[in-house]
Symmetry: C2
Subunit: 160 residues, 2 copies
């Protein structure tokens, strides 16, 4: 992984790293990374895009892992709750967390051309948001930061 997140990288490392991190995390807390849950996480790790719940359902269903919407939504709930996956609100879609394990305030860069999603990070104690909240006497529980635009790859060669 590099600084920007849009560069080429050894993606098999991305996947296996995140999977083993998830396995470790679950083992430590006696959570069950069941076949459905694991498979959904794998699917989302497969590339840095956001998949809709029904896209995911279509795949796991074709693999005999459950064919009804609740199966997909339950797996996603689990993965989101434990921080393995984030929901991209403005797409109604889900993407694997690329910083598993850490507490974080993610900010997503979403390319409107190739639909790549990169998870960046803000320092919550540094930003304007925190200032604004403080000034307003507002206690922050959760931040959703989603930035749409054109990624460096698509500036050069649209829809890479």
């Amino acid at each position: 992984m590099s600084q920007s997140g849009f560069e080429h990288h050894d993606h098999t490392v991305c996947i296996s790293g995140a999977l083993t991190a998830a396995e470790t995390y679950c083992r430590e807390r006696k959570l069950k990374l069941t076949p459905v849950r694991r498979r959904v996480l794998e699917l989302l790790l497969n590339d840095h895009k956001a998949l809709g719940a029904y896209d995911i359902l279509a795949v796991i269903s074709s693999e005999g892992l459950g064919s009804q919407p609740p199966v997909a939504y339950r797996a996603l709930d689990f993965l989101v709750t434990h921080g393995f996956v984030h929901k991209i609100e403005n797409r109604n879609a889900y993407t694997a967390c690329t910083h598993s394990g850490n507490e974080h305030t993610p900010a997503f860069l979403i390319c409107t051309s190739c639909e790549s999603v990169v998870e960046a990070h803000t320092d919550p104690t540094q930003g304007q948001i925190d200032q604004i909240a403080k000034q307003a006497g507002f206690t922050v529980q959760k931040s959703t930061i989603e930035i749409e635009g054109i990624c460096p790859n698509c500036v050069e060669t649209p829809a890479a």
Copy 2:
């Protein structure tokens, strides 16, 4: 209006100000602030909360202004396109813009207790987001910033 946005204020001024601003804007550009569109804007101005499209539809329908979903969605599209209304993605709901007319990068403070929504503002040239985007070579088109938490009124008296 004050700095934080959660204080009491003369809300009739809020409403009439935003409405006349919208009227002026439309007159200048020969846009049509038709009865449905105007009424939807009014509804959203009525209080600083986010309303779902079907909440809005229920009201306008009861007033004889159109009873099918596309009526509400079209009015909302118009209002969003021209910046009179913003969509709150994590609620699938809509709220009136309280800074009509200005180009802006809004950040929403959403109280999970009373569901109030306050529109704050970031300086896009100042924040971490801009830095992150620059570093990644990412061209920003649109930002979605939604902060959930507890507003100052609800800290004192829950669910005010």
